[in-house]
């Protein structure tokens, strides 16, 4: 019967408003952090693009197919440029740039490759 005698005290209007303000402020900040964190998902794309650049450079070493082209692959727009290396013309300089659909550059890769004898 003693438990039934317990009475919960109500909060005043001012107390409630202050509490709501504090909660909303902290929640707002945490939401911003959360959104920022979600945006960091783009970094996964950066890493994927970087990895793909390395793979493409290795493929170029094997295939020895030189040239300049732009192509779309795995959601990336990849720009490939090859030219003779200025300091040692027997080397080829490869430059790869990967961008997303909106044209933001995600990753780039530069490498020197020594062409094999035919």
């Amino acid at each position: 019967m003693d438990a039934l005698k317990f009475r919960l005290k109500a909060a005043s209007l001012l107390e409630t408003i202050i509490a709501l303000l504090i909660t909303l402020t902290v929640f707002g900040i945490s939401a911003m952090v959360y959104v920022q964190l979600l945006r960091s998902g783009l970094r996964v794309q950066t890493l994927k693009a970087s990895q793909r650049m390395s793979e493409l450079a290795d493929e170029m070493r094997s295939s020895q197919h030189w040239g300049t082209e732009t192509f779309k692959e795995e959601g990336f727009i990849i720009e490939k440029t090859t030219a003779h290396y200025a300091q040692q013309p027997s080397l080829m300089q490869l430059e790869l740039i990967a961008a997303d659909e909106e044209g933001r550059v995600l990753a780039s890769h530069r490498a020197l490759i020594l062409p094999r004898d035919p």
């Binding site: 202050i18 504090i22 900040i29 530069r110 490759i113």
Partner: protein, 406 residues
């Protein structure tokens, strides 16, 4: 009067949310750091690899060290170093940025040109080459002006349908020279201050090429028993160095007056002797192995390399005498019957070829010794097949060539 019940509750909730947000911030920061580190490492690895390609493109095999800004933007610097490691070149590329480093190394030799299929190069001393028994010469042969003829030794004539299985070209009076600088660099190890004594080394050791070379002094005589040593090590003995069957050596350099490889030795290493080098029966050396007889001082005896029956070497077997050395006797390379060399044989002096060579033989003079006599420029049951070697074979870096290609 303002009551604090709901306020207290909201502050508690706000604290929990703030802690959670803080955790998320820390996590995001950590991931960003890791991502930056990963991307930086990838860039450094790519630059280090480009540095190796840069070194491979240069036509010089001589020792060098230089900083190169690869792409001219000040953010892709690499330290490129090249030095001899025995008969091969050691390339080192170190890419660095903001205190981080990535190191790549490569052991390299000379690439065979597409049309290079030299089987035999015999210096022109005015005498013809005689072939006897089951001798087979497959590939391009550089022969004296006197040419090649049938021979007849120990009751055995030549059994082949053609004297040569390949083309014939005219040789010069001397062999194409070897790189003296590489062999002098080797000579320096013999007299360099020792890093430690062989007795102080553990039985198993791997020493990286990114560290400085360990020069191990074995004293006058050294026997390597059950040891497993790999990497950037130079092991030397003043007089005799014996490698026992239980020893496993890879990439190391052995330097001594005389070196003996006991039966059943396995490994891939380079051995350089000044007096004698004996490879006993059943020894099998993997690629890239080198057996070299290097003579820097005058001598009164005949320095020799002997590869006994059933032994095989994948790499390079050579004899070399410094130009200033005066000696009456030529060096001697003796390939016994049923021995196998896959790669190159270079004899600056005399050679007896009774085994099989899958690759090339450069020889000043061929001497065939029988119990009763010696025959000059005679081959009996020798096989030299340049085409049995892989076209992707990488040769040693000692041959002086125009436009050295790694």
């Amino acid at each position: 009067m303002v009551r604090a019940g709901a306020l207290l509750m909201s502050v508690a909730m706000a604290t929990v949310i703030a802690m959670f947000s803080g955790f998320l911030i820390l996590m995001a920061y950590h991931f960003k750091q890791q991502e930056s580190l990963l991307l930086s490492q990838k860039k450094l690895a790519a630059n280090a690899r480009s540095g190796i390609e840069w070194l491979l493109a240069s036509t010089s095999a001589e020792a060098s060290s230089q900083y190169v800004d690869l792409f001219g933007q000040g953010s892709d610097s690499v330290l490129l170093q090249q030095r001899y490691w025995g008969a091969y070149s050691l390339l080192s590329s170190t890419a660095m940025s903001a205190g981080a480093q990535v190191h790549q190394m490569a052991l390299c030799g000379a690439a065979l040109s597409a049309d290079e299929s030299t089987a035999l190069y015999l210096a022109d001393l005015g005498r013809p080459l005689h072939v006897c028994g089951n001798t087979r010469l497959q590939g391009t042969s550089y022969l004296p002006e006197a040419g090649i003829r049938h021979g007849y030794i120990q009751g055995r004539g030549y059994t082949g349908s053609s004297l040569l299985y390949g083309t014939s070209r005219r040789s010069q009076a001397s062999l194409p020279p070897l790189q003296g600088k590489a062999l002098e660099a080797l000579h320096q190890y013999r007299y360099a201050a020792a890093t430690m004594s062989a007795a102080d080394l553990p039985d198993t050791l791997h020493h990286s090429f990114s560290d400085s070379t360990l020069v191990i002094d074995g004293g006058k005589n050294l026997r390597l028993g059950n040891v497993h040593w790999t990497g950037n090590l130079v092991i030397r003995a003043d007089s005799l160095l014996v490698v026992g069957a239980g020893a496993t050596l890879n990439q190391v350099l052995l330097i001594a007056g005389s070196i003996v490889l006991e039966p059943q030795v396995r490994g891939a290493f380079q051995a350089f002797a000044s007096d004698s080098l004996v490879v006993k029966k059943g020894v099998a050396l993997s690629y890239p192995s080198v057996l070299g007889l290097c003579r820097q001082r005058s001598y009164t005896f005949q320095p020799f390399v002997r590869v006994e029956e059933g032994a095989s070497v994948k790499g390079f077997v050579f004899s070399w005498v410094a130009p200033a050395v005066v000696a009456d006797l030529k060096t001697w390379i003796d390939l016994r019957p049923n021995s196998l060399v896959e790669g190159e044989v270079y004899a600056e002096g005399n050679a007896q070829l009774a085994g099989e060579v899958r690759g090339s033989v450069y020889c000043f003079r061929i001497v065939l010794r029988s119990p009763s006599a010696s025959y000059e420029n005679h081959l009996l049951d020798a096989v030299v097949d340049a085409k049995a070697r892989s076209p992707l074979w990488v040769s040693h870096a000692l041959m002086e060539k125009d436009g050295y290609k790694k």
